[in-house]
């Protein structure tokens, strides 16, 4: 049983747009994160010699660089989502405003 308020929200075009945009954003960023992490895990599990290989000049290694890259990537992903989420906030405000305008 879906309440009348929920039915109105489901019919709201802003809500449908919010769900669509958020799903698309999360799928894109989450999928990218998953791919990067899985790739890194696979390298750790099956490509150890590659990770231990020194970089040009003999300092550090590919593994260290990739580790730092994973940290930077994680920060970038959440920063990117934070920017996109401002748009979701505006849509949420629109939905709430419309519900307040027509309470029944």
């Amino acid at each position: 049983m879906v309440s009348s308020l929920n039915v109105r929200i489901l019919d709201n075009p802003f809500y449908r747009r919010l769900c669509r945009k958020r799903r698309r954003c999360v799928l894109r960023l989450g999928g990218l994160t998953l791919c990067v992490y899985c790739g890194f895990f696979a390298l750790i599990a099956f490509g150890r010699t590659l990770l231990a290989r020194p970089l040009v000049g003999g300092v550090a290694s590919i593994g260290i660089l990739m580790g730092l890259g994973i940290i930077a990537f994680s920060i970038w992903i959440v920063w990117r989502y934070g920017r996109a989420a401002h748009h979701f906030d505006r849509l949420t405000d629109d939905i709430v405003q419309e519900l307040k305008r027509c309470p029944h």
Binding site: Y37, I44, A52, G67, I70, A72, S74
Partner: protein, 555 residues
């Protein structure tokens, strides 16, 4: 708070740096405990701890509004709450645990740092806002939103208590080593003393004092590790890339030059262990009760999301510095050829190598300050865990389940006090058995249980319409029980803590098996649930989705 940070950074930056840059010009014998001025370290340690506790307490005594008391726990902005979350999250496993693992096992220690960070993007993308919109205080609130109130709350409470207990034991184990290192007390006495302090602080100050302590501690921790890493890099003429290269060239390290400090596979020698541990660390974050509590107490969903963003950024920064500190510690503290024979002679064990690095680069004052930061880290996390565990018992088990949502406030408080006491006592007992265990490895077991018990249930309750009470309960229990059993039989507990010769379960973390079993169990028992209640719960998914998305609407 900025003034405190500034003063603290000034204090550390004003310390005399070793004159000779680009070379480490001391031997291991310089680091032997009997040559350290313990009085100076103790005085600095006591001073910093005292000032931090007073600042946190004074901040917590500020008058609160009703909204504060019922709602936010003082962390009004996303940055503040993010700082508090980071304060609770960066436990002894992160400092000094990660650096200690890098010292002991090289690149595999770095993997723990990446794992501890890797869950944050998923927390920000998928959970932070939804958790705030659906929950009030605990994980049980979210799970019971459309499913059975009693069954799911009991399950969430038991899972949270198990995770909290192991996490607490890890913190107490680390603090026991610290107290032994600083004051020469027996390990057990250190655990008991700090266990008692943790109980007193969390019970007398409540969420306000615990939040403020987490914020103060986070500021001190970031300042401390920044200065420590700066001093270490300064020794190498600010050539960061030279540190791991030199560390890998060390002849005396037990991992060995050929085995490769820079190569994975020393600690986690098989792919199954690596994948299982990776899953535990990434997914376990979402099931940690003391971290979830901070999302529930955020003022609104936007603040919860911003908190997750700040927590990711701050944690990322911290783990980058941890890598520098870990590899520097290999060079500074372990570079002597006699190291191999002295591996176990450090007072406090390998968890304390960061403090030896602090001594090596900055002398007694730096070591005293870093020891104080470590102590505050452990105290803050332990107080947060105690509070979260007590909230689970008093809110979920007593107020909602036993009293059907109509508890007497005074009795609820008494239950909360008793729960904290029991939790503290159990954690002290477990902490005594964990003397020789690396704190990051012990915490990873708590992550494994959280990933197996809480994560599958939370994901499917939030995102799968067909998930029912029967499925969530049976699958969740499969995950919880299997992960606890596999943890018990794992090398870290079965061999290192219990003293058996070989482990029954040979892998580093149970998550790959127990989490898969939990997902399978939830799917199977939900799909086969044809009861009217199950059907009604599926219908209620739409209302839950609306509430989770925009924070409006109800059943």
């Amino acid at each position: 708070m900025p003034a405190l940070t500034f003063a603290f950074a000034l204090l550390l930056c004003g310390l005399p740096l070793p004159a000779q840059a680009a070379e480490f010009d001391f031997s291991l014998h310089d680091l032997l405990p009997q040559q350290i001025n313990h009085w100076l370290i103790t005085a600095v340690f006591a001073g910093v701890v005292f000032v931090a506790l007073v600042v946190a307490r004074l901040a917590a005594l500020k008058p609160h509004t009703e909204a504060d008391a019922s709602d936010t726990g003082l962390a009004a902005s996303g940055f503040q709450n993010g700082l508090a979350i980071t304060g609770h999250y960066l436990s002894g496993a992160s400092f000094p645990g990660v650096a200690a693992l890098i010292v002991s096992y090289g690149y595999d220690g770095l993997l723990y740092a990446l794992g501890f960070l890797a869950g944050w993007p998923f927390m920000a993308l998928l959970f932070a806002e939804r958790l705030k919109n659906l929950g009030m205080f605990t994980l049980g609130d979210v799970l019971a939103w459309r499913l059975d109130n009693t069954a799911l709350r009991i399950f969430a409470a038991v899972g949270s208590l198990v995770v909290t207990l192991i996490y607490l034991a890890a913190q107490l184990s680390c603090v026991g080593q610290l107290i032994r290192l600083l004051f020469g007390f027996e390990y057990g006495m250190g655990v008991v003393i700090v266990g008692a302090m943790m109980l007193i602080y969390s019970r007398t100050g409540g969420i306000f004092a615990t939040t403020q302590l987490a914020i103060v501690k986070a500021v001190l921790l970031f300042s401390g590790v920044t200065v420590l890493a700066f001093m270490a890099i300064h020794k190498f003429g600010f050539s960061f890339e030279a540190i791991p290269a030199r560390a890998s060239a060390l002849q005396g390290h037990p991992v060995g030059r050929d085995a490769g400090i820079l190569s994975p596979g020393v600690l986690l020698s098989d792919p199954v262990s690596m994948i299982s541990l990776g899953l535990a660390l990434v997914c376990g974050l979402v099931g940690l009760p003391h971290i979830l509590m901070r999302f529930f107490t955020a003022p609104n969903a936007r603040t919860a999301r911003k908190s997750a963003l700040w927590a990711t950024i701050l944690s990322g920064y911290f783990y980058m510095l941890s890598i520098v500190i870990g590899f520097s510690a290999i060079l500074f503290a372990l570079s002597d050829p006699a190291y191999r024979s002295l591996w176990n002679s450090y007072r406090g064990g390998d968890n304390m190598t960061s403090l030896y690095l602090a001594y090596a680069v900055g002398g007694e004052i730096t070591m005293g300050v870093m020891a104080a930061i470590l102590f505050l880290t452990l105290l803050s996390v332990a107080a947060g865990l105690t509070l979260a565990g007590a909230a689970v018992v008093s809110h979920d088990l007593y107020a909602i389940v036993a009293r059907k949502g109509r508890p007497k406030l005074s009795r609820e408080r008494r239950v909360s006090h008793l729960a904290a006491l029991a939790l503290g006592a159990a954690a002290i007992g477990l902490g005594l058995a964990a003397e020789h265990v690396n704190v990051a490895m012990l915490v990873s077991l708590a992550f494994g249980i959280a990933a197996s018990a809480h994560f599958p249930v939370l994901v499917l309750v939030l995102f799968w319409q067909r998930c029912t009470t029967r499925g969530a309960l049976v699958g969740g229990c499969i995950g919880l029980i299997s992960s606890v059993l596999l943890t018990l039989f794992s090398p870290l507990v079965w061999v290192t803590m219990l003293g058996n010769e070989t482990a029954i379960f040979p892998y580093a973390s149970p998550a790959l098996f127990s989490m898969s079993a939990a997902f399978l169990g939830i799917w199977l028992f939900s799909r086969t649930d044809r009861t009217p209640r199950g059907q009604s719960e599926c219908v209620n998914f739409t209302a839950q989705k609306i509430r989770a998305e925009i924070g409006v609407g109800g059943l």
